[in-house]
Symmetry: C2
Subunit: 490 residues, 2 copies
């Protein structure tokens, strides 16, 4: 704790009802504020997390959006929903600061990944605080990804106000409700409201900080494209004794198809998969070289006896495109397994993209590969005739809510200003050319005519996208300090 | 309809209350009886099918066993449960015929495969009769596999009695409740009751008739062995963006492992997999050559554009050992898919065996193959230390409820007598050295000191082991005729 913060704490203790102290830094004000209000803040964060926010539940998403509009209005901030039919609304908050030279836009998202409640230790929308290895964490869907960022921004605003610190720039909050579905309507909504959402920079407050725990600023994100592949065996499940050896088994066919996509080291074997990658600049390479090496710590944390990548570091590997099987299903396993030749087998495939690799092209490369393995490709359930006419048929459903990677040069003036603000709050920060995850930065940049820089606050081990998602509370408090410094930028 | 049967029908119509006619053949008596009582028989069969009979529901299995004991006693047949702790009982029925030279044992099973109700068009334990392409079928779990056989035996007994036809041999009914779980306790129960269950032959009334629809007599069954294989990625699901390319993906690892087990034509590549197979005799080869060739019809019925086996016929291929993936699961697909590197991937593998290939050896060959692909093999959930110490870890759970194949020579006197009885009822029958499916014939032969011959009655397309299992009602009526002829054997 620095001396300024100690003073602030003392002031809070001695002068509970006194007016806020104006001489603090934004981060100091944030630290004092969160230290004084932790139980209330945890309570309020829990209320936010308890509202279901999965794509399958549009009414839950609406409740989240309405709550955020109310939260903005309560603070005297102009708020509205930016809506188009059939999509969750974008929540817009708008603060016009007299005499401001710049407009800073804070992007985050209030929707979360789908949940499988049976996999969770506690229900995903019943937030609980648990102490793990001496650290307090709150467990709930979106605790880390990405309600933490929204809550940190609102709390930072309150902290600055309580401390009497004035804003200097125009501020916009743009909180999306469809990020986990690939942001299929974000560009359309932002384009239709360009004047409302335009700014000098979009600060994308999403994703985790570096695994070392240090505050991180990231200048890009990988693009993301999806495919779902289904291959076909017999039209109905067949007895594996009576027809095994004769009726083709789709689980085995899918295994053989997927197996050929990567070597044993995780290198993708699909032709042209690595074509067109834009190389890193010297400044980006330097930043990577300066970044912490967490690989051995992570292997232990994840119980991994080996990793893919032929010896390359994790931070190098996320600057490459990737192919990941999110899931495979065919027939049943465990107690429900039956002696059957399944009728179909399905794999959900996630392609991460880097700058220079277009998502439609990358999807097509995978489709071409499947075709090269003897499959007749359809994009809808094949008819009996199609199945009879072709030795192998694959249905490939391309997710059109895919998008390309984006990277903002670190040497732009706005980039340097953001780095300075974050450093003022958090000291020694990690600078990364790209994050491993994906956010639709390109859609933002095009639609809002802006650049994007990502400032995450969640802990790396927040189980985002999985069961038992959580946020380390210290990351929330630190995040409020970071957001306060960014809100107070010139 | 032959003239004898026409006469019988006429008798039934004219002389409803008249005593049964003794001059009929057993099959003719059966045909007359079922023709006269169809609605009642369908009703009674439906009541039997409505009692749940899955391994996960021991009380349901008990209700089935109790119902069968009551059904035997109602007919004046001595009945008892043969039980050991922790296993469903075997239902024994016993008819001692004065002066009998032989004892014929009718084996069937009253348990069914697990069900996934969401996959069924109607609930699996709410039997319904539907007309499909002009044929009436009853839909329910075990309609074909294997309650049909039990019901046909009871009905054949009633038909003979109604016709005044006396039995000539001692008869035993041995109805098991654990066949779909691999009959783990059958041998123990039969051995403990050898005097009660011993006979000249076990007639195994299970499985479907030939796909041509002709009555079939089968002289063996493939053995069956199982393995469940789980491979490991990160200890918890990881974000596929942040860790893809680096954290090994168990779905991909499993795909690569499975893919190497077979070539594109379904030939198993695991070393020694085909070693030791006992060749078919000349009589068995002749029977195979005489059997109908249904392959093209089946391909169309199953919507298959190609089949495995390099051009060999289905009936040849089931005389080879097989490896079938019953199911794969890792992560999620469809609407529940998330962008995650799954933590584990599991495959359920079914090995069918032929005479000369021992089940423990065959399991070991698969395990050895997995080891040869760089996996450290465990038989229980691996600890963190084991996972950290080994680049690749596979948990292999060997199902100990596995058993070997059995084949009874077709030229044995008892085999020739069974063939003659079935031909007397059904005319032109198909003789097969083995069925594709598995029944624990070896356990029966050892424990009851007997030989086994299989006489199935279900239609081939009964969806056994899958959703919408059904029995073509005509197969039930035909089956009663077959069972009547066998019950009346000398």
């Amino acid at each position: 704790m620095n001396s300024q913060t100690k003073l602030a704490c003392l002031a809070m203790l001695l002068l509970i009802a006194a007016p806020a102290i104006a001489a603090q830094t934004p981060a100091g004000a944030a630290r004092a504020y969160t230290a004084a209000h932790r139980p209330m803040l945890v309570q309020q964060f829990g209320e936010f997390l308890s509202i279901p926010n999965v794509a399958a539940d549009p009414s839950g998403l609406k409740r989240n959006a309405d709550l955020l509009v109310a939260a903005l209005k309560k603070r005297g901030i102009y708020a509205q929903l930016l809506s188009i039919p059939g999509a969750p609304s974008v929540v817009l908050g708008r603060i016009d600061t007299p005499g401001a030279q710049h407009t800073i836009v804070f992007y985050a998202h209030y929707d979360g990944q789908p949940v499988t409640p049976s996999e969770w230790d506690s229900p995903p929308f019943s937030p609980v605080v648990r102490e793990v290895n001496g650290e307090q964490r709150v467990y709930a869907r979106s605790a880390g990804d990405d309600k933490a960022a929204i809550f940190a921004q609102l709390t930072a605003f309150d902290a600055l106000k309580a401390a009497g610190i004035s804003l200097r720039a125009n501020i916009r909050f743009v909180w999306e409700g469809e990020e986990e579905a690939g942001s299929p309507h974000l560009e359309q909504i932002l384009t239709a409201n360009r004047d409302l959402v335009h700014g000098d920079v979009f600060l994308v407050c999403d994703g985790p900080v570096d695994q070392s725990g240090r505050q991180t600023v990231v200048f890009g994100a990988r693009g993301d494209a999806h495919l779902e592949v289904t291959v076909y065996g017999p039209h109905r499940g067949l007895h594996s004794g009576h027809y095994g050896n004769w009726a083709p088994n789709p689980a085995m066919m899918l295994a053989q198809l997927l197996a050929g996509m990567k070597d044993d080291d995780g290198h993708v074997l699909i032709p042209h998969f690595y074509d067109g990658i834009e190389p890193l600049s010297a400044m980006e390479k330097d930043a990577l070289a300066d970044a912490p090496v967490n690989d051995a710590m992570l292997m232990k944390a994840f119980w991994l006896g080996r990793v893919d990548g032929g010896g390359a570091r994790l931070l190098e590997l996320i600057n490459q495109p990737s192919l990941n099987v999110n899931g495979i299903s065919s027939g049943q396993t465990g107690a429900r397994a039956t002696n059957v030749i399944p009728s179909t087998a399905t794999a959900d495939i996630d392609l991460r993209l880097v700058v220079g690799v277009d998502w439609r092209k990358q999807q097509q490369r995978v489709v071409d590969y499947i075709g090269s393995r003897g499959y007749f490709i359809v994009d809808h359930e094949p008819t009996q005739q199609i199945l009879l006419d072709h030795p192998r048929v694959a249905m490939v459903v391309r997710d059109e809510a895919s998008y390309n990677a984006v990277r903002t040069p670190m040497d732009l003036p706005i980039a340097q200003e953001v780095i300075a603000a974050v450093k003022s709050a958090r000291g020694n920060v990690v600078l990364l050319p790209t994050m491993g995850g994906s956010v639709p930065l390109g859609a933002m940049e095009r639609a809002a005519d802006t650049r994007t820089i990502t400032v995450p606050i969640a802990n790396y081990d927040d189980n985002q996208h999985a069961a038992n998602e959580n946020l380390r509370l210290q990351n929330l408090w630190d995040g409020v300090e970071t957001m306060a410094a960014l809100l107070e930028m010139n």
